[in-house]
Point group: C2
Chain length 372, copies 2
């Protein structure tokens, strides 16, 4: 069970393979590579992979401040211009290795094996890194795709339900951002908390092939690719307001709900548009709604006043307007600018609370909305 | 007095202008840019350039460890995705800004104004950064050319003789690496410690147009561009062995002398080859030879045993051979591999001492050459 396709980037084309049991092959092909692996996954590495660097998958390590440490580890491991790197882990390991590989002796070739569903369905292609710096999340980053991406679904078995849901939200986001049919095709792959390896391969392949269109047409995030921020501006605000008690993937799911509520209340959706948006809402509710409470054992406490404050300071906004991705008319996504007024702020806050009401997730709203 | 040409890179084409009094124009064109300026040059900035970040041109600041500080300064200056940066300074400022501009929000457009002769004739085009990390000099780096390079020769007036000589050595290196005629054309521009603005413009233009060929044919330093390391492997060893008492540019001049001595003694030069090499040696001696002692008030004390040790650990070597650029047969440069044997080490040490003898620069040689 294995399937491959290619992604073209300005630095060349790279191959993506989705299958199972791919790890042993990599080690056979690259016995002398330096393996950079999420600490908790180190025991999956066959003993033949001798040169190893372990990284704890912590936000603190995904930082410009941490980079010198990894560079020094690479140097200690004897890496030189001709060394191949193999990164094994989720988005944090990917970000850190994308960055380090791009700068070590001005660039080393590397292979990436994503191990979280989020990184399998989404971040593993596109070549982006997002790195924390000077206390700001994801303030810096770059583009440096691996030579090869190997998605081995055997890693999924140890992920918890919340991480599966979070990954599926990113896949749903990509497919919905593409077009409604792509979203229907995604649902036809049976995305869910319990998937067979084959279902997982199908979901991942469909999500990545859909994302491929976005990154090939807009490698450097100038236009089409911006739609893939769907759910993210609201989601990041919720992540930040809960001190990351809400994980990234769940934040994206919630963020899509907020965007959907905003669209339902503040834009003119056609009947088809309402229908598409409702369908997306149902999929998210299937995962973290009241019917699925086991996914989130104890949902983080959310203070919407703080979430609005975090939303306000998102770096994607302009000085006079908020920039958000929302479903429009027929339900397709659009990147819109909304002027920064007390009125707009009330509407956005309203969408936040409506989204939480929708899934019966308790939250705290401010008594008084302070006009800025 | 102004002349422009273009350099093409994978990220687009950028324009290079060589002239004088260009600073006022930049500030007029980019009143809202963030100006990142060598501290000692800040007073040249017109008051209209309001957003400023000063950087001391120190090796310690040209480091991965320093990068978060600059990123935080950019953030404090209010930089966002649409901000233009203008860097004003020598190679250190260029390295630091190339790196920071490439990663801040995944890349900001920037303009570079080189202010040392070295950066004017050489490093300002090519897009490379070299950054110190984890205590290793230039261990990391990347490629991120500015949108525009503006070479304003008015900055030369405050450089001392050593800095002028160092810049000219890089220009001589580029032209000699291209072909003997390019070297003769360079000499015809009257390179010297005292140049009129017009002579300086001619030297710089000729050097940059010659370098343009190398960087366009080999943007990522795979083949032709490697010849521009001429003088650098030996030079770096001398810089390091004197704890940077020998500056980079002077190190390159000395390094070319060492390479020339090695070629004279260990390779089969034709009569023309001997002639070309001798001509290059004369030019270097004109600048730092006994006839020009005022350039170097008190030459650094050199321990050749230490220089050999530093040479040994250069990261460009392979595990079993040294890689050096030397004049060959007709005098043209070649990148050659020489196997690592005690015999080779004795020859290289011999070339080092012959070079220092040539310019009557005192040095210390080990009593016993330790075979490794
Ligand atoms: N650069 C991009 O394009 C991009 C896109 C999305 C997210 N990100 C970043 O990625 C990070 C989130 O990444 P993520 O959620 O993929 O994972 P992660 O790397 O943050 O890991 C999350 C947790 O899962 C563990 N883990 C990883 N694989 C596992 C496995 N197979 N079984 C059990 N546990 C496993 C990790 O140790 C960690 O505790 C964030 O920092 C986010 O900003 C980057
Ligand atoms: N990335 C590349 O392609 C590349 C190429 C060559 C060198 N470099 C790096 O550049 C650095 C050396 O650069 P450099 O020699 O151009 O300069 P520099 O930035 O190191 O500055 C040298 C000194 O000159 C001063 N200075 C700068 N402009 C001046 C002016 N107009 N008048 C008086 N003083 C001035 C500085 O303050 C500093 O004290 C090294 O770190 C080297 O590794 C990089
Ligand atoms: Zn995401
Ligand atoms: Zn140099």
């Amino acid at each position: 069970m294995q399937d491959s396709f290619e992604v073209s980037a300005s630095t060349g084309t790279y191959a993506v393979t989705v299958g199972d049991q791919l790890l042993a092959d990599v080690v056979r092909e690259h016995p002398n590579a330096v393996y950079i692996v999420d600490t908790i996954l180190e025991d999956r590495l066959p003993p033949e992979a001798k040169r190893r660097i372990r990284i704890d998958a912590l936000e603190a390590n995904k930082s410009l401040e941490y980079a010198p440490h990894l560079i020094s580890e690479l140097r200690k491991a004897g890496a030189d211009r001709s060394t191949h790197l193999v990164a094994i882990g989720g988005g944090i390991i990917q970000d850190v290795v994308t960055f380090a590989a791009s700068i070590f002796m001005r660039g080393l070739p590397w292979t990436y094996m994503p191990t979280t569903l989020l990184s399998m369905v989404d971040s593993c292609i596109g070549g982006k890194s997002s790195i924390n710096a000077a206390g700001y999340k994801n303030l810096v980053g770059n583009f440096y795709p691996p030579k090869k991406v190997l998605v081995d679904v055997s890693f999924i078995s140890t992920l918890d339900a919340e991480m599966i849901a979070g990954g599926l939200f990113e896949a749903a986001k990509i497919c919905y951002a593409s077009n409604y049919q792509a979203f229907l095709d995604y649902l036809a792959c049976s995305p869910g908390l319990k998937m067979t390896d084959e279902q997982a391969v199908n979901v991942i392949r469909h999500s990545l092939l859909t994302k491929k269109w976005f990154i090939e047409i807009d490698e450097f995030d100038q236009k089409e690719r911006l739609l893939l921020n769907f759910g993210h501006t609201f989601g990041h605000a919720l992540e930040a307001a809960t001190d990351f008690g809400i994980s990234h993937g769940v934040g994206v799911g919630l963020g899509m709900l907020v965007a959907a509520q905003y669209a339902k209340r503040e834009t003119e959706l056609t009947d088809a548009g309402k229908d598409h948006v409702a369908h997306l809402i149902e999929h998210v509710k299937d995962m973290i709604g009241p019917r699925a409470e086991r996914v989130l054992q104890s949902p983080a406490h959310v203070d919407l006043d703080l979430a609005m404050e975090k939303f306000e300071f998102d770096k994607k906004h302009k000085s006079d307007s908020y920039r958000i991705v929302i479903p429009n008319r027929e339900g397709a996504l659009a990147l819109v600018s909304v002027s920064k007024t007390p009125e707009t702020r009330r509407k956005i806050l309203g969408a936040f609370s409506a989204a939480f009401d929708e899934i019966s997730w308790p939250y705290q709203i401010p008594q008084v909305v302070t006009p800025a």
